[in-house]
């Protein structure tokens, strides 16, 4: 009956309770949606990076991670690739030759990473093909060919089918020149990647490096499901203790940091909103207590213990906050679900977003654990809000409350 009493007390002033419930609901829904947009942006950056070139996992020689030299290649890549072929969690992989070098045109030159790939493998591992804005991906059509970022092409004054000169060191440290025809231009969400990456066929660079077999510096692995990442990593790391098996978080710590930061900022953002709401709830409940001093006095006079009065006020506040909180989650959740499905078109801000490596269509999302955490935050906030009014109520002297008010 105490619950019933508290529930009915909440609704005895419908207008006031509605105002505070709507305030809580809109405040929370706004906070959740803003948080989901931030999370969506972070997720977009991570997914873009994974799609673009990172993959879920990468394998390098430890020496290459310390010093990106041509000679620091994986000595027995075939063993790794054979194992990858047997792992059910692996969707695709690309064994790459990585060369730090220079891309030049008649007008200019620019420092780049020359990535030698097996076109078919790369096509399966990354989504680079879908990011081509002109031409095609690497094929067997021409003798030497390159796919470069649109941004790099602009910087060097090159077009599709132009010739690009790539310069890099071979295994003995001698400078090697490679002339290639540009067959494709790509445009990803990352300006930096577009400016500094050149894709060429692995067999072309292998020949120039004077090697009989491709020198593999990096194996990028795409998983069928990201939830299998830890298990796959463990399996590979235990199989090849002489190699460095890393997940995307370790390869791109700035992305991992951003992902954590965005989550923390979302909590902080919602916490600030809830903190502001505490004052509103406290005010409402104080008014509710002040209006009912006579009644509370009677309750205490007839034998209701102060503890029970305290619990009743606490319960009223919790109910008020709970209704507002649930409504806010419902509105916020529905808005997030809607925009997660249809996306938010931010192409007007494309240039700025590309600087961050984020896509122009945002898909807000909030993990389930965050909804649970926010529920706890609301309950805690409601309890804090109830303290002052409940304290005020239990300090009443029944005789005075009944007589004076």
């Amino acid at each position: 009956m105490l619950f019933l009493l508290a529930w009915r007390n909440v609704w005895r002033n419908v207008k006031r309770s509605t105002i505070i419930i709507v305030s809580i609901a809109l405040g929370l829904a706004g906070g959740l949606f803003a948080g989901a947009v931030m999370m969506g942006m972070g997720e977009s950056m991570i997914n873009s990076a994974i799609d673009r070139n990172l993959g879920h996992l990468q394998i390098h020689s430890p020496a290459y991670r310390r010093d990106a030299l041509v000679s620091n290649y994986i000595r027995s890549p075939q063993k790794v690739l054979s194992l990858l072929d047997t792992l059910g969690s692996v969707k695709a992989y690309s064994a790459r030759t990585l060369l730090e070098g220079m891309a030049s045109s008649a007008n200019s030159s620019y420092g780049v990473t020359i990535t030698g790939v097996d076109p078919e493998r790369e096509r399966e591992t990354t989504a680079l093909v879908s990011m081509l804005v002109a031409g095609n991906f690497l094929a067997d059509k021409y003798r030497t060919q390159a796919v470069i970022g649109k941004k790099l092409a602009e910087r060097l004054g090159l077009k599709l089918k132009s010739k690009i000169i790539l310069t890099f060191q071979d295994r003995s440290g001698e400078i090697v020149y490679m002339a290639a025809r540009i067959v494709g231009l790509f445009k990803t969400e990352s300006t930096a990647f577009d400016e500094m990456t050149v894709f060429v066929r692995q067999k072309d660079v292998t020949r120039l490096l004077g090697a009989r077999k491709p020198l593999i510096h990096e194996i990028a692995i795409r998983l069928k499901n990201s939830s299998t990442l830890p298990a796959t990593k463990t399996r590979l790391a235990s199989g090849f203790s002489d190699l460095k098996v890393e997940e995307w978080r370790e390869i791109a710590p700035e992305l991992a940091f951003m992902s954590t930061s965005v989550e923390s900022f979302t909590y902080l953002f919602v916490a600030i909103i809830i903190f502001a709401l505490i004052f509103g709830i406290t005010n409402t409940m104080l008014m509710a207590v002040m209006e009912r001093i006579h009644e509370l006095g009677i309750l205490m006079a007839v034998g209701m213990k102060r503890g029970r009065v305290f619990i009743m006020i606490l319960m009223e506040t919790l109910l008020l906050s709970f209704v507002g909180g649930m409504l806010g989650m419902l509105i916020g959740g529905a808005a997030i679900a809607w925009f997660n499905h249809f996306g938010i078109d931010l192409s007007a801000f494309a240039q700025g977003l590309e600087g961050f490596g984020s896509g122009t269509t945002l898909y807000p999302y909030l993990p389930g654990v965050m909804y649970a955490a926010l529920t706890v935050m609301i309950v805690v906030a409601a309890n804090i809000s109830a303290l002052m009014p409940a304290w005020k109520a239990v300090r009443l002297k029944p005789a005075q409350a009944v007589r004076v008010y």
Binding site: I298, L299, A301, V302
Partner: protein, 226 residues
């Protein structure tokens, strides 16, 4: 042994610059089944005496024994429990919890006592029938007249099966008809349940019906008329 034994009670309020002596050495006792009115002009100390009898206020000196148990030195939590188990209260107005129905108001006191759901529902129904409100069980206070509300308050006061009922000016806001009807009902309860009723009042209609009238003036005991 008297049901209530008031010994040398004084009450002085020191909240203002000049101390207010609300009660001065009051000695009185009440027996079981009494139907007593405490009368006197405003400021005579009626309500203060009633509050002290009900353990709502503590005397400055003196003691109150209820069934031989001294309640003046009791801790607040023990007093709340004592009130719940042994004393019924009817106040002047706005007695009931507005968001509860008549039957819920009566049941509420039993809920605080820990009475089971079925028993408290049965007892509440019986009591409301006794006070003539069998057909208004589910009415909220705002749907009842002043007289009907006071009847529910009496039913609630009796619901805890107290040793006595204290009523602070219960008819102050009632018209003649409602007052008569309420007093008839209280007398009936007094007879039926052998319940002691102690009123504070300056309503002549109540004084007429009281079996015993105690008069206070300026906080002093003036007269005790059977």
């Amino acid at each position: 042994m008297a049901l209530i034994d008031v010994r040398h009670i004084t009450k002085t309020y020191n909240s203002t610059a000049v101390p207010v002596h609300a009660l001065r050495d009051v000695n009185v006792h009440f027996e079981k089944k009494e139907f007593t009115a405490i009368v006197g002009p405003s400021g005579s100390g009626k309500t203060t005496l009633l509050n002290i009898l009900g353990g709502l206020d503590a005397p400055t000196s003196g003691e109150v024994l209820i069934g031989g148990q001294n309640i003046t030195g009791m801790k607040e939590s023990a007093l709340v429990e004592f009130r719940l188990r042994h004393i019924g209260f009817v106040f002047q107005a706005y007695n009931l919890i507005p968001v509860l129905t008549a039957i819920e108001n009566v049941e509420f006191i039993m809920l605080l006592q820990g009475v089971g759901k079925k028993e408290r529902h049965e007892r509440a129904r019986t009591l409301l029938a006794d006070v003539g409100l069998a057909d208004r069980l589910d009415s909220r206070p705002s749907q009842l007249s002043g007289g009907q509300q006071q009847r529910v308050a009496v039913a609630r006061a009796l619901a805890s099966r107290p040793r006595f009922v204290l009523a602070d000016e219960p008819t102050a806001n009632l018209d003649s008809e409602s007052t008569t009807s309420l007093l008839d009902m209280m007398e009936e309860m007094n007879a039926k349940y052998e319940m002691t009723f102690i009123f504070s009042t300056h309503d002549a209609r109540v004084i007429e019906r009281a079996h015993r009238v105690i008069t206070l003036e300026d906080g002093r005991f003036q007269e005790d008329k059977q």
